[in-house]
């Protein structure tokens, strides 16, 4: 395939769960391309199927119908994708540094080499001091950073992040948003980034996909033409407020609809 081909391509992807009360369509007819090096943000009301889509993309869940592919890179030993899970999912039985080195360990990278890589990443996010701590000994914000860095250390073709900053207080969240921006500018990885926060989606994303509540469909896709490199200050630009307002119009209507659908 030519390098100009999309890195990720989704064609009419549908996911139907068989539940006790009959089939339930979680993701419906989802078609989308993501270019190499693009940062794609997905927003949508709770329960609209964002995590389901990400899990299908990661190959952790079967697809009911449609096609979903990630184009492999030049180096076949590079993993296709690494997920930052909504629930962190860092292993409580491994130390911080063992968690970060996990992907490399599974691929047979030597102890020395993988510890060096992991230590480098921990340094970059200010967690070097906690390398030998167990997850229960560190704060929620640190756990989330470990889970992000575990994916980055694995150096995948695409990075799949499911609300990586979801459970954080506002201050820690801002600090980590800055950190993410900085790291992404340096690595320029292809990223699919799910978030509840519209601010975060507009701040980080090259495009923002808005999904509808059950069944999860694409409502709209917004191109965000804000200059890179961005920082927290980008949020003060008038253009930022305009994007935000435009998306919020659609989203708020959708959230209201989703809430009214609840039994």
């Amino acid at each position: 395939m030519a390098p100009s081909d999309p890195k990720i391509s989704a064609r009419n992807v549908t996911k139907v769960y068989q539940t006790a009360s009959g089939p339930m369509t979680a993701v419906d007819d989802f078609s989308l391309d993501v270019a190499e090096g693009e940062f794609l943000a997905i927003v949508g009301p709770s329960g609209c199927g964002k995590s389901t889509f990400l899990r299908m993309l990661a190959g952790l869940e079967d697809i009911s119908s449609g096609q979903l592919t990630i184009r492999p890179g030049a180096d076949p030993s590079t993993p296709l994708n690494s997920v930052v899970f909504q629930e962190y999912a860092i292993f409580p039985w491994k130390t911080v540094i063992q968690n970060v080195a996990f992907g490399l360990q599974m691929r047979g990278v030597s102890e020395r080499a993988r510890m060096d890589v992991a230590r480098g990443w921990l340094d970059r996010v200010g967690l070097a001091k906690f390398a030998d701590h167990y997850p229960h000994q560190i704060s929620g914000g640190m756990k989330q950073r470990v889970s992000i860095v575990r994916a980055l250390a694995n150096d995948p073709e695409v990075l799949l992040m499911d609300e990586p900053l979801g459970a954080l207080d506002a201050q820690t969240r801002v600090v980590l948003q800055e950190e993410l921006l900085r790291i992404w500018e340096e690595t320029r990885k292809t990223v699919v980034y799910i978030t509840h926060s519209l601010d975060e989606a507009v701040l980080l994303g090259d495009r923002v996909v808005l999904m509808s509540a059950q069944p999860g469909r694409i409502l709209d896709v917004y191109q965000i033409d804000l200059d890179r490199p961005r920082s927290i200050d980008t949020m003060n630009l008038p253009a930022f407020a305009e994007y935000r307002a435009a998306i919020w119009d659609r989203l708020s209507a959708e959230v209201t609809r989703a809430m009214e659908m609840q039994p």
């Binding site: 690494s82 629930e87 999912a89 292993f91 039985w93 491994k94 130390t95 996990f102 599974m106 694995n154």
Partner: protein, 339 residues
């Protein structure tokens, strides 16, 4: 502070007054047990008041004193009650007599049954000089303690390892789980000692070591299968997803995700399995054995030497506590993330 001090003094005086009063009126013997009971209640009240004023740095010492002091006090009361003939010293020999009996069975060789409790380890150098390792083996094979320990260890390993493996399979594979679940649940509730006769039938030498070890192994196996299965099923699926997403193969999943994820429940199972193994082996030795701590205990009941029977029970207790401690140590080594 002063109020508590006054209260402590009051409780002390009440205790003394109670006993002296009963003694003076000649009612002490008739009322000894209620009086002792009341004294214990007073003791609790006193200790509680003292506890309020223990400085933080002496806290540990205070707690240890309570935890160890109370059993010692119980033994002292037992001893005293025996001496005063409040309880029959023949059927409930005082701790001192049990201690002597324990010493007796430890150092002496029983010529009649050709056994000893410990296997007379002090004879090892002498036997080794005369007959080499084989002679040492013969010497130690007379030991009740080693016989029981050997059966427990062999049965435990033989039951726990396959049990954990089957538990993992049942935890991961729904088909196997559905097929075996009912059967296991049914065997689980069966008292393992009840299948001992059946197990004996399966062996060429029904009175040998085989059936005894297998009965222990079987009870450990069932327990460990059920526990491991529960442990594996309780692993948060997101950890399994993470393992898969980061490229773990089947064996790596087992070693890095499934076993550590199920480890807390596995160890809880091992703790219970150890208790069950002790029950089973002691009962089996009561029933059918020429050797073992259980045999020794039951034998001395049959020949009516109660203090040696109690000595046997003490050995069982020490054994149980030691093995539990060993398991605890292993748990700390294998699960460093739980402090």
């Amino acid at each position: 502070m002063t109020q508590d001090r006054r209260a402590i003094l009051g409780f002390l005086l009440a205790g003394v007054a109670l006993h002296v009063g009963l003694a003076l009126t000649g009612l002490w013997y008739a009322w000894a047990w209620p009086a002792i009971g009341a004294s214990f209640v007073l003791l609790i009240l006193i200790c509680e008041r003292i506890g309020r004023h223990v400085p933080v740095r002496a806290r540990k010492t205070y707690e240890r004193t309570l935890a160890l002091g109370f059993p010692v006090l119980l033994l002292a009361v037992w001893e005293l009650a025996g001496a005063l003939e409040l309880i029959s010293p023949i059927w409930f020999p005082p701790p001192s007599a049990i201690g002597r009996a324990l010493w007796d069975v430890s150092v002496n060789y029983d010529r009649f049954s050709e056994t000893s409790l410990l296997g007379r380890p002090w004879l090892i150098p002498q036997e080794y000089a005369q007959g080499g390792l084989a002679a040492v083996g013969t010497l130690l094979s007379e030991s009740h303690l080693l016989a029981t320990l050997g059966r427990v260890f062999a049965g435990f390993l033989l039951g726990a390892i396959p049990g954990i493996l089957l538990g993992v399979v049942m935890g991961l594979n729904q088909t196997v789980r559905l097929m075996l679940d009912t059967t296991l649940a049914a065997i689980y509730v069966l008292p393992k000692i009840a299948i001992f006769p059946v197990v004996m039938l399966m062996f060429a030498d029904p009175f040998g070591e085989g059936p005894k070890i297998v009965v222990v192994a079987l009870s450990v196996f069932i327990l460990m299968t059920i526990n491991t299965m529960t442990g594996v099923r309780n692993i948060d699926p997101v950890y399994l997803m993470a393992g898969r997403n980061y490229g773990a193969g089947p064996l790596q999943m087992l070693r890095h995700v499934i076993l550590p994820g199920a480890m807390p429940v596995i160890f809880a199972g091992l703790r219970i399995a150890l208790g069950t193994a002790m029950i089973v082996i002691i009962s089996v030795e009561f029933l059918r054995a020429k050797q073992g701590v259980g045999y020794m205990t039951f034998y001395h009941w049959e020949v009516l030497v109660p203090e040696k029977m109690y000595a046997g029970l003490v050995v069982v207790m020490i054994l149980g506590v030691t093995l539990t401690g060993l398991l605890h140590w292993l748990q700390k080594r294998l699960m460093p993330w739980k402090r």
